[in-house]
C-alpha cells in the first residue's frame, strides 16, 4: 500500500514540545471521540429522565399500540404492553447512573488511599492492607452480590457500593505499582533532597501528576463494569424489579418473544448496552495510550 509524505510549508518556528493533542495517533483520537460521545449521551439521557421533558411516561400501558414498528411517534417502537421503548431506555439510565458514580467514587478514593499507603511503606502496611484486599478480591463479584442480596435485601444503591468495594483491590494494586515505579526512578529522592516536604511530594508529584491519569482510566473502566453488573442483575430479576425500566429487565422481558421472531424487542436494549460499554472501554483505552509517554524515536 503506497505511503505519501509531503511537507507543508510551515513557519520556521522551532518548537519541540509534545502537547497532548499532538501525541495522539489516529486510533486514540477515534476511540476518545467515540467514548466522549457515549458519555455525553449518557448525561443527556439522565438529564431527560430526571426532568422527564421529552419522553412519554414509560410506565403508561397502551394495549392498542402493541409491537408497533419504530416510527416518528415511538422512536424505537413499542413493547408487548404498548409502552414506548425509547422512553423506557431513557428512564433505564437512571437505574445505573447514580449507583455507577457511587461505585466509582468508592473504589477510586479507597483504592488511591490504600495504594499510596502500601506504595510508600512497603513492609508493614502493604502486607496488612493487601491481606484484607485479597480477601475481598478472591470472592467472585456476582456471588458476593448474591450473598449480600440474601442477607440485606438491599436497594441498587447499596449493591453498587459493594461493587465499588469489591473493585478496590484492583485499583490499589495499579497505584501501588505506579508508586513503586516512581520510587526507584530517583524523582522522589531528588524532590526530597531539594527540600520539599513529605506531604508536598505525595500530593503534588505522586497524586496530581502521576496517578491522576491512572485514576481517570480506572474510573471509566469501572463505570463500564458497573453498567454491565447492574444490567445483568436486573436481567436475573434480582436487581431493578419489573415495572421500573432498566436495560437488563427489558432484555429479560424481550427474550420470551425471541423465538416468535420479534427479536428487536430485546435487541434494542442490548444494542444500547453494547454501544455504551464499548464507548467507555474505548475511552479508557484511548486515555491510557495517551497518558503513558510513548518513546518517540
Amino acid at each position: 500500500m503506497k505511503r505519501f509524505y509531503f511537507e507543508k510549508e510551515k513557519p520556521n518556528i522551532e518548537y519541540f514540545h509534545v502537547p497532548l493533542s499532538k501525541r495522539a495517533s489516529v486510533r486514540d483520537v477515534v476511540s476518545i471521540g467515540f467514548g466522549l460521545f457515549v458519555v455525553s449521551y449518557l448525561f443527556v439521557f439522565f438529564g431527560i429522565s430526571v426532568t422527564g421533558t421529552f419522553i412519554k411516561d414509560p410506565m403508561e400501558v397502551n394495549i392498542g399500540a402493541m409491537f408497533l414498528s419504530p416510527s416518528l411517534e415511538h422512536l424505537f417502537g413499542t413493547d408487548f404492553l404498548g409502552r414506548d421503548i425509547f422512553s423506557r431506555i431513557v428512564k433505564g439510565t437512571e437505574a445505573f447512573f447514580i449507583p455507577g458514580l457511587i461505585s466509582i467514587s468508592v473504589s477510586t478514593t479507597f483504592g488511591l488511599l490504600f495504594g499510596i499507603i502500601s506504595g510508600f511503606y512497603p513492609k508493614y502496611f502493604a502486607k496488612i492492607i493487601f491481606f484484607f484486599l485479597n480477601i475481598i478480591d478472591s470472592i467472585p463479584r456476582i456471588i458476593f452480590i448474591l450473598i449480600i442480596i440474601v442477607l440485606f435485601n438491599p436497594s441498587i444503591y447499596l449493591i453498587m457500593t459493594f461493587v465499588g468495594i469489591s473493585s478496590i483491590p484492583k485499583i490499589a494494586s495499579y497505584i501501588k505499582s505506579k508508586v513503586e515505579v516512581l520510587k526507584n526512578q530517583h524523582s522522589i529522592e531528588a524532590a526530597r533532597a531539594l527540600g520539599l516536604s513529605q506531604w508536598a511530594i505525595i500530593f503534588k508529584h505522586i497524586i496530581w501528576l502521576s496517578t491522576k491519569p491512572v485514576l481517570i482510566i480506572r474510573a471509566t473502566l469501572g463505570m463500564g463494569e458497573s453498567i454491565l453488573i447492574e444490567t445483568s442483575l436486573s436481567y436475573l430479576g434480582i436487581g431493578v424489579q419489573e415495572p421500573t425500566p432498566s436495560w437488563g429487565n427489558m432484555v429479560a422481558m424481550g427474550k420470551d418473544f425471541f423465538f416468535q421472531g420479534k427479536i428487536w424487542l430485546s435487541t434494542i436494549p442490548a444494542g444500547v448496552i453494547l454501544f455504551t460499554i464499548m464507548g467507555l472501554y474505548l475511552l479508557g483505552d484511548g486515555l491510557n495510550s495517551i497518558y503513558n509517554e510513548k518513546v518517540s524515536r
Binding site: N134, R141, I143, L151, M278, L282
Partner: protein, 291 residues
C-alpha cells in the same frame, strides 16, 4: 527447583490464611443478620465448627431446604469448573493471536478490524449474546442440543458443553483486556534494546520478546480474571439452564438458602486461590528477577 517449592509453600500458607479470612468475613456478615444463623454457642465456637465443616468437605444438610448439600454441590462444581477452564482456553485462543498480530502489524492495514471485533465481542452483554447464539443455532443449524440433556437419556454431555463454553469464552470482557494488554506490552518490548540486539544477532524478534512481551501479561491477566469468569458463568448457566454452580447459587438466593451459598462461595474462593498459586509459580518461573 528449590525456589518453586519455597514459593509454593509460601502461597499455600497464604491461601489457607485467606480462606480463613473469607470465612471469617462471611461469618461476620451472617451474624449481622438478626438471629438468622441458629448457632447454639454464639461467636467463636460456632465459627470453629463451621470451619471444621468447610475444610473437611462434608457440608451436611442445609437447614433451610433440608437437601444434602454434598450431593447437590459437587456435580455442579464439576460442571462449572469445566465451563470456566474451557472458556479461559477459548478466550486465550482467540485473543493472543489478535494481540500478537496487532502488535506486529501495528494498527495498520489488516489488524484494525480484528481489534474492533475483539472490542465488540467483549462488550456484548453475555445474556443477550447467549440468546442470540441460541436463536441462530436453533433457527438455522439445529444440530447442537440447546438444553443440557436432563435426567435419564444422558446423550453425549460433551457436545452440550460446546455452546456455553463458546458463549462464555467470547462473552466475558477478558478478551478485549488480553488483546489490549498484549498489544501494548509487545509493542513496548519489541522496541527495547535487548530485542533489537538479539535481532541484530539474527534471532527472530518474536522469540526473544516472548518472555516479557506475551507470557507475563497473559499469565497475570488470565489468572486474575478467574473471579470474573466464575461470575460470568452464573449468567451463562442461567441463560442455558445449565446445572452449574452459578445456577445453584441463583436458586439459593431466590429461596434464601444461606448454607448452600456459603459452600458455593467457599468453593469459588478455593478455585480463585488455586488460580493465584498457579499464577505465582508461573510468574516466578518466567520472570526470574527477584524483586
Amino acid at each position: 527447583m528449590m525456589r518453586f517449592v519455597r514459593i509454593f509453600f509460601k502461597e499455600v500458607f497464604n491461601m489457607a490464611l485467606l480462606i480463613v479470612g473469607v470465612t471469617a468475613l462471611l461469618y461476620l456478615l451472617f451474624n449481622l443478620m438478626p438471629g438468622f444463623f441458629p448457632g447454639k454457642g454464639q461467636g467463636v465456637i460456632e465459627y470453629l465448627r463451621l470451619l471444621k465443616k468447610l475444610f473437611t468437605f462434608q457440608f451436611g444438610t442445609s437447614i433451610i431446604s433440608g437437601r444434602d448439600i454434598n450431593s447437590i454441590v459437587f456435580p455442579a462444581f464439576r460442571n462449572t469448573l469445566i465451563l470456566t477452564i474451557g472458556s479461559i482456553f477459548l478466550s486465550i485462543l482467540i485473543s493472543v493471536p489478535i494481540g500478537i498480530f496487532s502488535a506486529y502489524r501495528g494498527f495498520k492495514t489488516y489488524s484494525w478490524p480484528l481489534v474492533i471485533f475483539s472490542y465488540i465481542m467483549s462488550s456484548i452483554p453475555v445474556f443477550y449474546f447467549g440468546y442470540l447464539v441460541l436463536y441462530v443455532i436453533s433457527r438455522y443449524t439445529g444440530f447442537l442440543p440447546i438444553y443440557y440433556p436432563q435426567g435419564v437419556e444422558r446423550g453425549n454431555p460433551v457436545v452440550s458443553y460446546v455452546l456455553p463454553i463458546l458463549v462464555l469464552g467470547f462473552g466475558n470482557e477478558s478478551i478485549s483486556e488480553i488483546v489490549r494488554l498484549i498489544a501494548n506490552e509487545l509493542e513496548r518490548v519489541m522496541h527495547t534494546d535487548y530485542v533489537i540486539a538479539s535481532k541484530a544477532m539474527g534471532e527472530s524478534v518474536l522469540w526473544s520478546s516472548v518472555n516479557e512481551g506475551i507470557m507475563i501479561p497473559l499469565v497475570s491477566i488470565v489468572f486474575s480474571k478467574i473471579p470474573f469468569i466464575i461470575g460470568g458463568a452464573v449468567i451463562v448457566e442461567h441463560v442455558f439452564n445449565w446445572p452449574g454452580m452459578g445456577r445453584l447459587a441463583f436458586q439459593a438466593t431466590l429461596d434464601r438458602d444461606l448454607p448452600v451459598l456459603i459452600v458455593i462461595a467457599f468453593l469459588a474462593v478455593l478455585c480463585v486461590r488455586v488460580g493465584m498459586i498457579l499464577k505465582e509459580i508461573l510468574l516466578s518461573y518466567i520472570n526470574p528477577i527477584e524483586k
